[in-house]
Structures are given as structure tokens and as C-alpha cells.
């Protein structure tokens, strides 16, 4: 499709100064089902669309608890995501053994980025084909980080990755300034509403294709799946009704 003579490995530059393999890996993130992350003063939250390969199969797991104070949502190659989740869990556990405390989220994200970078500079390796949204709460408060196959990472107020995530980012960009003061349930509603923007025409959020994870000060990273998201789906259903608080926000656009 895009073939050219400079894209067969990561250690060959194109004359235009690009490394195509890395860009293809980032493309894998864009193809993956969407994940969003956002935070308030008190909470960090990630949410994701889960896919199932056919009617008989289960839905692919997209949210992983890393430690008591941290979890991730992934977009892209799920097996790569599981490998990184395992790495992050083991780093957190190791830190707890040595220091008897939680690892700073930003420090772990930097470690993951360094690990990702190695795959972009070695013959016989490939970059990870997965992007992570990391939600965590530590000494410096709540955080949302994004990691990228290139070895880059960023911190955000709110962000979305994965397929059609531009729509969710647009949603978040218009509202993120108000997130700071929101209680958890309203933060969840914004996560679900932004996630809904990424759905293909005709698709709907259901208890089986949505998963959420959130964490707060001293709290345990909590994953909400299946029936546990129903109350929030009901809330955004009501928000659509004319006159409801969420509906007003919709009309501002």
C-alpha cells in the first residue's frame, strides 16, 4: 500500500528524514479501538471501546490495572499492550518491595518510553504497535499520560487515542477546562460521551463494549465493566433528553 525502499526496518532512514517503520507502528495505534483519558483535581480516569471479533467471542480486554494507584487503557495491538502491562506491573511491584510505596506515574511512563525507544533503534526488533493512556494518582496528584510506539510520551488534561479518536479529542478540547472541578460521576459521563463520538454510524455504547477505570487519592484503581457501567449509560441517556444538564452542554456547540 505505502511500500517504498526505506521502510523495511527501523534502522534505515528515508532521505526525507523519516523512519517509516515507526510511523507504521503509530498507524497501528490509530487502527485500534478508541481509548480516552481525562482527569479532575481529584480523579484520573480512562475509558475504552472494546471489540469482539464475532458474535460468539468475548470482548477484548482494554483496561488493565497496573498497581493500586495506576491503570492503563490501550489502543493498537493488544498483545503488545499486555506485554507492556506486565512490564509496568512488575516495575511497580519491584518498587513496592524496595521502597514500600507507590511508584511515581511519570517515572514509570518514562521507563516505558525508554523501553519503547529501544525497539526503534535496533536491527531485528520492531516498535511496539500499541499506545497507552496511563491514569494514575501519586504524590503530585492525578495524571493522564499517553505513550507512543516512537518512544515519545506526553502528559495531558484529557486525551483520546485510537480509531476515530479525533472526534473524541474535539469533544474533550471544548470542555477540558471545566473538568478540574468535576465529581467522579460527571467525569465518567464526559468519558462516555467523548467515547461515543468515536463510534461508527449506527453503533451504540453498551455494557459489553465499554470499560472504565478510575483512581483517586489513596484509592484503589477501579475497573468498571459490564453491569457496573449501566448506571452511567443510563445517565448519558438522560443527558440526551431535552432540558437535562448534559443536554445544555451539547447545545452550546
Amino acid at each position: 500500500m505505502f511500500r517504498n525502499q526505506y521502510d523495511t526496518d527501523c534502522i534505515t532512514w528515508s532521505p526525507a528524514g523519516r523512519i517509516h517503520q515507526i510511523e507504521y507502528a503509530m498507524e497501528a495505534v490509530k487502527q485500534g479501538s478508541a481509548a480516552v483519558g481525562l482527569r479532575s483535581k481529584t480523579h484520573a480516569l480512562v475509558a475504552s471501546i472494546k471489540k469482539s471479533s464475532n458474535e460468539l467471542s468475548s470482548y477484548q480486554k482494554k483496561i488493565f490495572k497496573i498497581d493500586e494507584h495506576m491503570g492503563i487503557a490501550i489502543a493498537g495491538l493488544v498483545p503488545d499492550g499486555r506485554v507492556l502491562a506486565k512490564y509496568m506491573r512488575s516495575e511497580c511491584l519491584n518498587y513496592r518491595f524496595v521502597y514500600d510505596g507507590p511508584l511515581q506515574v511519570g517515572r514509570l511512563v518514562a521507563q516505558v518510553a525508554d523501553k519503547s525507544q529501544l525497539g526503534t533503534q535496533r536491527a531485528g526488533h520492531r516498535p511496539y504497535g500499541v499506545g497507552l493512556l496511563v491514569a494514575g494518582y501519586d504524590q503530585t496528584g492525578p495524571h493522564i499520560f499517553q505513550t507512543c510506539p516512537s518512544g515519545n510520551f506526553w502528559e495531558y488534561h484529557a486525551f483520546a487515542i485510537g480509531s476515530r479518536s479525533q472526534a473524541a479529542r474535539t469533544y474533550l478540547e471544548r470542555r477540558f477546562e471545566a473538568f478540574e472541578e468535576l465529581p467522579l460521576d460527571e467525569l465518567v459521563m464526559h468519558a462516555l460521551l467523548s467515547l461515543r463520538e468515536t463510534l461508527a454510524a449506527g453503533a451504540e455504547l453498551t455494557t459489553s463494549n465499554v470499560a472504565l477505570g478510575y483512581v483517586t487519592a489513596g484509592g484503589t484503581f477501579t475497573v468498571l465493566e459490564d453491569e457496573a457501567v449501566q448506571p452511567y449509560l443510563d445517565m448519558i441517556g438522560q443527558a440526551d433528553a431535552p432540558g437535562a444538564p448534559g443536554a445544555a452542554a451539547q447545545m452550546e456547540e
Partner: protein, 236 residues
């Protein structure tokens, strides 16, 4: 005939040579305070008379030592490396006193498992977010926290006094008075203790290590002055 096998593993401190004696620490309302004397002994000889045995290891943590001086210097080097590494990360967070205490314990335990211990008993004191922290770790990797702690001979001399007098509502001045009293008792009863002592504290404003002070002993009790003359056997 009894030559050491050439492949015997290298061991460092299997017997402490230059040592510092008791370190004492207490929590008080709004901080934590630790104290040591300022001498280091080579056996029973007071070889070094002006030694600092309390150091700041982060902006809100200090440690006080007991045991082998050279091993303590190694401990300080290890912690300084950690501090520099964290300074380079520059992400606005610093490890808590509890984290440093846990780390120190892991180091101590690993070394003892190699039969090459760092021959120290250490107190870790810290204060952050209105919480005082006071922990103990030693050459075996034993570790615990308490409201008041002492190492070495101080465990026998100072701890019972603190058990009687410590309260969570103590002010800084109360804490200082209690520590000075405990240090004085150690000075009376421990041959390797000195009356030149140093007190340090961590409170909301950070680590403060005071200049050494000299405690006045009380030696003019009648029985001391009269000595053995009264009982006729040369003893008290």
C-alpha cells in the same frame, strides 16, 4: 597450616573498629528530633572527638548512626547517589522518609545476606505533610517504626526514660529537654559516650542540625567526693 583458602569471599566489616555509640530519636508535636554524641571510639579509646553522626539525606529526612563509622560513610554515599539520581529526574516529587527507610533496610539486609554487613544501627527521621516519621534499621535488616527510638546501649539507658516521659503532645522544647536528659544518662553510664552532643530535628520548615553542645555532668554527690574513705574498701 591454617592458611585462608585463596577463594574465600572478600569480607569487609566482620568486627567494628571505629564506632559511634547510641543514637536517640523522638517524635514531638510538629516534628521529629534525633540526637547523638560527637565522638568515635577505636575500641575504648576516644580516637575522634569531633564527629558528626547525624546527616540530612533529603530535604525532609535525616539519619542518625550507631556502629562502625566507615560503614556509615558508605551508607551516606549510597543515599547521596539516590538523592542525585532523583534530583536529575526533576519531576517535582521526592521520596518520602518511609521510602528511604525501606530502601536502606533492603541495602542492609542484602549486605548481611552476603555475610558482609554494614555494621550500623540507624534511625531515620522525617517530617512531611504534617506527619512525623521515625524508623529504625540495623545491620541485620531489622526495621520498625516507633514514636521514640534508641540504638545500641541507648536501648537500655534511654528507652525506659522515654517510655515514662514521652507523650504525643510534647513541644519542641519538651522533646529537647527529654533528649538531653536521656543523653546525659547515657553519658553517665556508657563508657563510650560523651557529653558533647548534637541535636537535629525535622519539622515543617525542613531539616535543622544544631551545632554541638556540651552537657554539664553532676559529679559532686557526697559519695563521689568522699569516695571509698567512708566504707573503707575503696569502693562507693
Amino acid at each position: 597450616m591454617f592458611a585462608q583458602p585463596a577463594d574465600d569471599p572478600r569480607k569487609n566489616t566482620l568486627r567494628p573498629m571505629v564506632t559511634g555509640t547510641s543514637a536517640i530519636g523522638i517524635k514531638y508535636k510538629g516534628g521529629v528530633m534525633v540526637a547523638t554524641d560527637t565522638i568515635a571510639c577505636y575500641g575504648n579509646w576516644i580516637r575522634y572527638k569531633d564527629v558528626q553522626r547525624i546527616h540530612a539525606v533529603s530535604k525532609d529526612t535525616l539519619i542518625a548512626m550507631n556502629g562502625e563509622m566507615s560503614d556509615y560513610q558508605k551508607v551516606l554515599q549510597i543515599l547521596e547517589q539516590k538523592r542525585l539520581a532523583e534530583y536529575c529526574v526533576d519531576d517535582g516529587s521526592t521520596q518520602t522518609s518511609a521510602e528511604l527507610h525501606s530502601y536502606l533496610t533492603r541495602v542492609m539486609y542484602q549486605k548481611r545476606c552476603k555475610f558482609d554487613p554494614l555494621w550500623n544501627m540507624l534511625l531515620v527521621g522525617g517530617f512531611r505533610n504534617g506527619e512525623a516519621y521515625l524508623g529504625y534499621t540495623d545491620l541485620y535488616g531489622t526495621h520498625f517504626e516507633d514514636n521514640f527510638l534508641a540504638t545500641g546501649l541507648g536501648m537500655y539507658m534511654a528507652l525506659p526514660l522515654m517510655r515514662n516521659q514521652w507523650t504525643p503532645e510534647m513541644s519542641e522544647a519538651d522533646a529537647r529537654a527529654l533528649l538531653q536528659m536521656a543523653l546525659k544518662i547515657c553519658y553517665y553510664r556508657d563508657t563510650r559516650a560523651s557529653n558533647k552532643v548534637q541535636i537535629a530535628r525535622v519539622d515543617a520548615s525542613g531539616v535543622h542540625i544544631d551545632e554541638p553542645i556540651t552537657l554539664q555532668g553532676e559529679w559532686n554527690h557526697a559519695r563521689f567526693v568522699e569516695g571509698g574513705a567512708k566504707s573503707g574498701d575503696g569502693g562507693w
